[in-house]
């Protein structure tokens, strides 16, 4: 299991509770991992607001792109950082500065992104922090969908899931 360890129950609670995710580093290039993740999460019914100064004002997957966290409209439940570990530091500080205005509760750093100092500052400011994970992969893992690719979900499941219409779902039948 990737470092750090998070209980499945925590990840599931986050993914069930949030509605709006601002994705910092979302790319308009359809072969990029951030585009994949954004497409998937939109498909699952989340509202995604892309943040990318290079394409601010344009659209990615039909969603208006903002230049920075400070310019985001509210409300935003979770910030997903799709940048490298070093860049996650200043972005985290910007998130902390805008936390109350936006109503942010979760700071999420993507697979491969680990910044312990930034995480400590965010936690001290009252945010829940997840690092080195992808919300797409976690959603696919906990809903069971990623098992269709033979991925080891590291779970045992004795319940019947509701999966009609919109693919896998974290809702219980």
């Amino acid at each position: 299991m990737p470092y750090p360890n998070y209980p499945d129950a925590l990840i599931a609670r986050i993914l069930r509770s949030i509605k709006t995710i601002a994705m910092v580093g979302a790319s308009p290039n359809e072969s990029r991992p951030s585009y994949f993740a954004m497409k998937y999460l939109l498909d699952k019914g989340f509202k995604i607001i892309p943040v990318n100064p290079g394409v601010a004002g344009k659209d990615i997957l039909g969603q208006k792109v903002y230049a920075s966290v400070s310019e985001l409209p509210l409300p935003v439940d979770m910030i997903d950082i799709f940048r490298n570990s070093e860049a996650a530091g200043p972005i985290t500080d910007e998130v902390i500065a805008n936390k109350d205005r936006l109503g942010v509760k979760i700071l999420w750093m993507q697979l491969g992104v680990i910044n312990q100092e930034a995480a400590a500052r965010a936690e001290a400011a009252g945010l829940t922090v997840i690092m080195n994970r992808c919300p797409k992969i976690e959603y696919g893992r906990l809903s069971g969908e990623i098992g269709w690719y033979g991925v080891n979900r590291r779970t045992i499941d004795n319940r019947k899931h509701a999966t009609f219409n919109a693919g896998g779902s974290l809702r219980r039948a």
Binding site: P33, W148, V151, N152, R154, D157, T163, F164, N165
Partner: protein, 427 residues
């Protein structure tokens, strides 16, 4: 998640009640294809942007449960099934190798793999160099700047040989190449190669995983620990792929990227997919893997000990015996058991071997291993018949050699069967 035990995972991992019907047993999804929700979802599926089913050559929900269960038992990040163990190996090397590349393989190998590596792979301009699986230095000496992988069996067919996984893993790590281990004879119940530094495990699930001799099946599992980007030698993993709009597999799928690439490129294009019915039978078999392996190993040790004390037997090659040269390796790598496939030699030579395979009434005379039934073969008169006398001896298939795959029957019946099959004792 909770730290579930091996026996719990063998029953449950990968499976869940069917979302459509609530069926508790994994259904056999006997379908070629899957409807798309709409054109947009179809495009996203083909681009690998969302998880879902397209066509059963690439994925199937029954097969997927088997893939995940094997991955869970091996402690890997993901699995991929194939039509046979050979097909699984083909997919692994197709994902790793480029024309002109080399890999190093232990010479203690299933004969079919010797042919695949030494003959068929040449047509792709992939070249094997041989080493000794009990001598890690022999792998080190075979490394060149063209080496792209190292391969061995954990417990080598026809048995008796326990490979020095830890030593070979160190050579692979120093060379910066993935270490691939065929774990068919040990199964993850006895030995988990990832715990000794392997990066990829392959299986013939036809053998102990399925366990009942009723289905051909193969599997790949990845540990998720190999850095495919560092050397720049694994283009399939790291370079923009033209058939997926420039997607880079390693960057996009991270620690399960190898299985996604092997699925979305090699399995898609070469086509050796596993039938859902076979996956169902292997899944059912895997639920009892721990129970069967314990019995297989107990029976094998008991029979090896009995053979060793018999005056008609020249030698017994089973690492579970305290007198065996690799007994210490067995204690180190797989203390729960040395497997149930091994060879022994008959003092009566070729004629005694023929007499035994003709005389047994419980052991089945056939070319397979890892069945609930006990199996026997006399290589010199069957699988190795075409070789010269000298080559037969080199391959461990001399005239006096008999190979056994011990099943889960009552040991007293198996011993009585071998006893009567070997004929009268001398003197």
């Amino acid at each position: 998640m909770a730290d579930y035990g091996f026996d719990t995972l063998a029953v449950h991992a990968g499976a869940q009640p069917d979302p459509a019907t609530g069926a508790r047993i994994t259904p056999i999804y006997q379908t070629s294809a899957y409807v798309f929700e709409d054109a947009d979802q179809a495009a996203a599926l083909f681009n690998l942007q969302v998880f879902g089913n397209i066509y059963s050559r690439i994925m199937n929900p029954t097969v997927a449960v088997m893939e995940e269960r094997i991955a869970a038992l091996e402690g890997g990040t993901a699995g991929l099934a194939a039509a046979s163990g050979h097909a699984a190996q083909h997919l692994v090397f197709h994902t790793i190798m480029e024309p002109g590349a080399e890999f190093i393989a232990a010479r203690q190998l299933y004969g079919g793999s010797v042919n695949q590596f030494g003959q068929s792979f040449k047509k792709y301009d992939w070249h094997v160099r041989w080493a000794d699986s009990t001598d890690a230095d022999s792998f080190k000496r075979a490394v060149t700047d063209k080496t792209r992988a190292i391969f061995c069996e954990s417990i080598a067919n026809p048995g008796g040989v326990i490979s020095d996984l830890e030593g070979i893993a160190r050579v692979a790590a120093d060379a910066g190449v993935p270490f691939i281990v065929d774990n068919t004879l040990a199964t993850p119940y006895l030995l988990r190669p990832f715990e000794w530094g392997a990066h990829i495990v392959v299986h013939s699930a036809t053998k102990f995983l399925g366990g009942h001799g009723n289905s051909l099946a193969g599997a790949i599992v990845e540990a998720g620990t190999f850095d495919w980007a560092r050397s720049g030698n694994y283009k399939t993993m790291t370079e923009a792929n033209a058939s997926y709009h420039g997607l880079r597999f390693y960057e996009t799928f991270g620690d399960f990227a190898f299985c996604v690439a092997a699925r979305a490129l090699s399995l898609r294009d070469l086509g050796p997919c596993l039938a859902p019915m076979n996956a169902f039978l292997v899944l059912t078999g895997m639920e009892t893997l721990p129970l069967r392996m314990r019995r297989h190993c107990d029976n094998a040790l008991g029979i090896a000990q009995w053979l060793q004390s018999d005056p008609r037997v020249a030698w017994v090659n089973y690492a579970g015996l305290e007198t065996h040269a690799l007994h210490a390796a067995h204690q180190k790598y797989c203390p729960k058991g040395a497997g149930s496939v091994f060879t022994f030699g008959l003092k009566g030579g070729y004629e005694a071997g023929v007499r035994l395979v003709n005389g047994v009434r419980i052991f089945s005379h056939l070319a397979n291993i890892g069945d609930t039934r006990s199996l026997i073969i006399h290589p010199a008169s069957t699988t190795h018949r075409q070789l010269s006398d000298e080559d037969r001896v080199k391959a461990g298939a001399g005239p006096e050699v008999v190979r056994l795959s011990i099943g889960i029957e009552d040991i007293k019946d198996l011993i009585a069967d071998l006893d009567q099959g070997m004929g009268p004792k001398p003197g």
